[in-house]
């Protein structure tokens, strides 16, 4: 299987707290990897390592390597903004920046220096359509993003990430703050997006993981306990801890 991202004995710590412990794992191209586990198991740290956002934490240390398309993320002189445009992230809490819907979606492109109106217009419409928000906002692109509902703001966040033209989408519990209907819309959207993107998602429930994932990894206390393709982890987990977690006996 062709892999997009490879973790190679990667260890991450914030100060004295070990967040990830010796992770070796690969993410297949154009597939959805679900990373799940109890709170504090290192899922977010895993996600934030891929776009090197983890380094914003005070006293961050890491060892080992992460490669994207075969190239290490940690070679000297890596262009961090460019990396974050390649691996775009969406957070658990929907965040509309205090600017218009149009400016929100085109924000990342404008940061990278793109100013040409036609190019921005095109990217805004394409991203909003992909995030299934276009029909709801096309007549009020100039109104503030803060006026959207929570579910809309989260789809706005996804559109904002898609506008960058990324290769990888990092979704940190993107439906955690949403109602079931908005969640359903976003899950359907993920299945469509998979054709063009490699997606790493921290699902907000095991059911969600089972619905959207092509592969899954179970994390516990910073270690990857089990990693497997398809529904194997949910149907026939090999590790007893995975089985206990999946069947709801702890966590």
């Amino acid at each position: 299987m062709d892999s997009k991202i490879e973790f190679d004995h990667y260890t991450l710590a914030y100060g004295r707290d070990t967040v990830l412990n010796d992770i070796t794992l690969s993410v297949a191209r154009n597939a959805v990897l679900a990373v799940f586990g109890p709170a504090g198991s290192g899922k977010s740290g895993f996600l934030r390592s891929i776009n090197r956002m983890a380094e914003l934490e005070p006293n961050e240390r890491h060892s080992g390597d992460i490669r994207m398309d075969g190239t290490s993320l940690f070679v000297p002189g890596v262009d961090l903004p460019a990396l974050r445009r390649r691996a775009a992230m969406v957070f658990a809490q929907p965040v509309a920046l205090p600017m218009s819907i149009y400016d929100n979606v085109s924000y990342g492109l404008r940061l990278s220096g793109k100013r040409e109106r036609r190019q921005l217009d095109e990217a805004v419409e394409r991203s909003l359509r992909a995030a299934t928000l276009w029909d709801e906002v096309k007549d009020r692109l100039d109104s503030s993003g803060l006026n959207l509902s929570g579910g809309q703001q989260q789809r706005l966040s996804i559109a904002r990430a898609l506008a960058l033209g990324p290769e990888v989408l990092l979704l940190d519990a993107p439906t955690a703050a949403l109602d079931p209907i908005s969640t359903g819309k976003i899950e359907d959207m993920l299945l469509d997006l998979k054709a063009n993107y490699t997606i790493v998602i921290v699902p907000h429930s095991i059911q969600q993981a089972a619905r959207v994932a092509d592969a899954a990894a179970f994390f516990l206390n910073g270690s990857c306990v089990e990693y497997g393709p398809g529904n194997q982890l949910f149907v026939s987990p090999r590790d007893t801890r995975t089985e206990q977690y999946v069947t709801g006996r702890f966590g």
Binding site: P81, A88, M89, V95, P98, A161
Partner: protein, 278 residues
């Protein structure tokens, strides 16, 4: 005592405190206005003082006030906002940031006359600026710097952390993150701080007399001495030149500060409305 009764008494006390505060403010402003307004005329606003201010107008002191306030803010705002951005966005808490913060807090506690003496010794004498707009503006800038740093820091701290994360995650450099995600949200708070600083600067007397002088003519350059309205008021009253003109000057000063407050706050509301509604 029943809880309902405690509640009533507490409410009464708080209500009294609020009303009393308002009453004091109204009393002070009212007194100056009642005494000052009758002597205000177009000639008073646009004319030059004669006989040391016993007759004529106060136009040069209005110019002096606005110019001195503007110069001090032009110096203090970039410095203060820059320092606040450094303290909040560019460093983690460390010995250095604690030292800077302790320094600014101490600066805020220094009496203005000390700033005046420092300004006189350093800017006026040592740097040979003489009594001038520049020396006065620099001195006042130092004096209001803590206000601007403090309010800007507070404003920046209220910007949600999520804005920073989103900005970084979309490929912003630190500077882009600060200018596009943090500063626009913090702007109303920063403007409020700058207005506060302006109020302090234009109402200052001691530090200004020592550094900008008390000249009664219109300033010609940054090296001209000026007299501000507050200083004019002080000299007219203390030297017994004309109490009537002193109150009139005070009234104009109050109205000036009020006008600037109104203009700035309507500016803020418009800014915020553009962010939120549009």
């Amino acid at each position: 005592m029943t809880t309902a009764r405690t509640q009533r008494i507490a409410f009464g006390c708080i209500w009294a405190a609020a009303v009393l505060t308002l009453a004091v403010l109204a009393l002070v402003v009212g007194l100056i206005m009642i005494r000052g307004l009758p002597s205000i005329s177009w000639g008073f606003l646009s004319g030059s003082p004669e006989n040391l201010g016993r007759d004529g107008g106060i136009f040069p002191t209005i110019v002096g006030t606005i110019v001195l306030g503007a110069v001090s803010l032009l110096i203090a705002t970039p410095l203060g906002v820059g320092a606040a951005i450094y303290l909040t966005e560019y460093t983690h808490e460390s010995l250095l940031t604690r030292a800077i913060r302790f320094g600014t807090e101490s600066l805020a506690g220094v009496p203005s006359i000390i700033f005046g003496l420092f300004g006189f010794i350093f800017f006026v004498t040592y740097l040979q600026m003489g009594w001038s707009i520049l020396a006065g503006g620099l001195t006042l800038a130092l004096m209001v710097l803590p206000t601007i740093i403090r309010t800007t820091e507070e404003a920046i701290r209220t910007v949600p952390q999520s804005y920073r994360n989103v900005s970084y995650s979309l490929g912003a450099t630190r500077w882009q993150m600060v200018t596009t995600a943090v500063l626009p949200s913090a702007l109303p708070g920063i403007v409020t701080g700058v207005i506060l600083a302006f109020g302090r600067a234009v109402s200052e007397t001691a530090a200004v007399i020592f550094t900008a002088g008390t000249a009664l003519n219109l300033p010609k350059s940054a090296f001209s001495p000026v007299r501000t309205m507050a200083v004019h008021f002080y000299i007219l009253a203390v030297e017994g030149i004309s109490l009537e003109k002193a109150y009139a000057t005070g009234a104009v000063l109050i109205v000036t500060v009020l006008l600037i407050n109104i203009i700035a706050s309507s500016l803020i509301t418009r800014l915020v409305r553009r962010q939120v509604r549009r």
